[in-house]
Symmetry: C2
Subunit: 466 residues, 2 copies
């Protein structure tokens, strides 16, 4: 242990608890990949317990000594939920990396919190199963992190979010006690569902160590189309049509508003893909077909039906796998962030019925704040989750930032939406949250935090102020 950055006694204690080689400080700590935020490693003190018993001893020690603990998975979070500061102890769950049980007959897996999504998915697919939650950061994101942030992604409209995949959960609480509720069944009314509080609480109520997951059966390879829709309502009509058509299985439904799509296509040299005369948004849909490779003729027929109902202006079916991948590059590449840096990013949920009004409303409000603002909107249209960047390429001062917050968030809760759809609260939305949440809910959040973590050692300052 290089203990230059902290009290020698602390280094000694941690070394005794976990083994000196599992305590990383100074240069050894700096070797970890900080992920999306350099401040994730700002504490410069990392420990890596081997198992639940070690983690329990560690948290008990930290609790007694009032030491702040920042649990980390893949460090892919976008709200600062894994950010640390000097004096914190970063707890990496990397060694909780076992797929402990995989029942390929009924589609249930029990895995350690440190297992990476992509690695797990690859193993499951060999036997016909998949996690049912998927998103861009799949290579780094861990199951424990996904549970702690209630991760969403591309498949939520058909398989739900992480909360819907978790059958059982084990965690270590702030005082080191073990919470073990590792059920493997869908129906479980054994008392209050305490584990639901741990899901999505960003490591502020307990540290998730092990999860039982309900898996989804793998679907056949899909074909993709990019559809120009007159408005979100038309796109949702198309979405519902494909979702409910018994001949196909809708696999993806991603939205891109025109401004976003054009700028991104231009940046990627993919302009022809979005060369539609009209349409805003565009909907990237993928269908699979029961028991066979998807049939492009049937897809064309379905899209023609949708066009007949005014749901599509124009559509382009991917000719081959390369073109399908390019559709996804349009959706997943954040070129707008390179071309228009300093963008203010949001991740909101909007009920389908309110999408057009919401988008028109924020565009109007943002134009009043700064006429040069561009509003790049894309996201998971199937579940109403919009990602958006408000940008003119230059930095914003705090006043502008606050005004944009209001423009984006105001009214969302009243229409049944969410100011954080899938990215969570972390540090970045922590202070906005109480402005928009029902006061009773926020007060209960604070009370729950105090109840679960009376010394405020677990990821302090994230999710909720106490």
């Amino acid at each position: 242990v290089d203990d230059s950055d902290f009290e020698p006694a602390l280094g000694r204690d941690l070394g005794e608890l976990l083994g000196a080689e599992r305590v990383y400080a100074g240069e050894r700590a700096a070797k970890f990949d900080p992920g999306v935020d350099p401040d994730n490693l700002a504490a410069a003190l990392v420990v890596m317990p081997a198992n639940t018993a070690e983690l329990a001893r560690l948290l008990s020690y930290c609790n007694s000594n009032r030491l702040a603990v920042v649990p980390q998975g893949g460090r892919t979070g976008l709200c600062g939920g894994a950010r640390s500061k000097p004096g914190d102890i970063i707890v990496m769950l990397d060694r909780f990396d076992a797929i402990e049980d995989f029942d390929a007959e009924s589609g249930v897996a029990v895995v350690g919190a440190g297992v990476r999504l992509e690695a797990l998915d690859e193993q499951l697919r060999e036997q016909g199963w998949t996690v049912g939650v998927d998103f861009g950061a799949r290579g780094s994101a861990t199951i424990g992190g996904m549970v702690s942030t209630n991760a969403g992604g591309n498949e939520a409209f058909r398989s739900g979010v992480m909360r819907h995949r978790v059958l059982g959960l084990e965690a270590v609480m702030a005082n080191g006690s073990l919470f073990s509720d590792l059920g493997r069944v869908t129906k479980n009314n054994d008392g209050y569902d305490i584990k639901q509080l741990l899901i999505g609480s960003e490591g502020t109520l307990g540290v998730v160590t092990r999860v039982a997951l309900r898996l989804e059966a793998v679907a056949p390879a899909p074909i993709a189309a990019l559809c120009a829709c007159a408005d979100a309502r038309a796109a949702i009509g198309l979405f519902q049509r494909l979702l409910r058509d018994p001949r196909v299985r809708l696999m993806s439904a991603e939205g891109m508003w025109r401004d976003y799509a054009e700028v991104t296509a231009e940046a990627l040299g993919l302009r022809p893909l979005v060369d539609f005369a009209s349409g805003n948004p565009y909907l990237l849909v993928e269908i699979a077909q029961p028991g066979a490779n998807a049939d492009a003729d049937l897809f064309e027929e379905l899209l023609a039906e949708a066009a007949g109902q005014g749901e599509i202006d124009e559509a382009l079916i991917a000719k081959n796998e390369g073109e399908r991948r390019n559709f996804w590059r349009l959706r997943e590449d954040w070129a707008v962030d390179r071309l228009y840096p300093h963008g203010l990013w949001y991740d909101v949920s909007v009920p389908h019925a309110s999408l057009d009004d919401y988008v028109a409303g924020i565009q109007q409000k943002l134009a009043l704040i700064d006429r040069e603002f561009r509003v790049f909107i894309f996201g998971h249209l199937g579940d109403g989750n919009l990602h958006l960047s408000v940008a003119h390429g230059r930095p914003h001062d705090d006043t502008i930032r606050a005004a944009v917050d209001v423009a984006v968030f105001e009214g969302l809760k009243q229409m049944g939406g969410a100011i954080s759809a899938e990215h969570g609260i972390g540090l970045e939305k922590r202070d906005a949250l109480p402005k928009y949440l029902c006061p009773t809910k926020y007060a209960l959040m604070q009370s729950v935090k105090r109840l679960f973590d009376p010394n405020n050692i677990l990821n302090p300052g994230k999710s909720v102020r106490v």
Copy 2:
């Protein structure tokens, strides 16, 4: 108000809060249907607030005066969760009966807690949607009750349980404050998901008043088959085959162990339906077919494939709707309870992988307690939810009852099951729960109860002892 049974001051206060005609005592209270348990109305004092504001005033009054409140929906619960005693105030949610919003384009409904499942489902079906949770008590059960008990039912293996259908929720808390989290979106990470504690807590943490539900699309009419399977493993093989076959949609997968099926069939004059040479359990499966009426030829082909794999010994496809209904009468009629009264009833969840071992294990253990015991087992095989009655037709003393509890519950949690699958805890399983639950979870349940309801006025004594 007939105030013969309680303090006149209380009657006057309640009358002032809610209007005298909405306070029911004496004969007027006795006119309500007590549902499955006469003790549900033992309090003999019923109030029926009109809206959230009235309920808030009522709870605030009860909280200040330390008066116990028993919220009631359809009174169809089987664990005593709605039971009341003299001195309690029964709060019926019947007037929260509005379908307040139904978005038939995206399949979301916002409904009052007092709306009945069957009535709601009928209205939704007219526009192609259904609640996605269904069970025998559909005529009486209310949405608020279903949320408060996290109801399960027949469709859980494909649509989840009530918890998975609830997008948003409004409730009045013990002190009368309003909890409003009426989101209508699947992705919602706006802080700790407090509403998950209200779901399934049997009215002990708050009174649910309004719910936003994600709906399921109506499927075409199914055809049914009764299949004799060599063991549960074979039945699960069949279940997985049909669930994953892209040509069909599996709608039902209900299990009946041989003893149950034979006794029930005999009682209902349906012996020929279960006249199989072998098989235990029988699996009642229903399939629908994409876009068309189900095709019996394809069904026969699928069942023949299953037979070829040893998943089925024999099978009987329902020849007509009458025969299909008779399959369901076998499953849903509680003839065993009439023929073998005083049965000890259980409702457990067992992971598929453990089903055969579990059933063999309890049969063995129960035979050691009393050789005359018969064990009638049936339930929702698709999700591993077994209902069972342990009976010899005579009453049991407490020692036997305790021994049977142990035989049925022991080991369940270790295998990932649940001692209450869908019926809840109420009074009847309250004292068994802490024996089998992780102590940290149980302690958190107690702390959460004290936090949400410090004066213990909300359905006191149910779910958890404090």
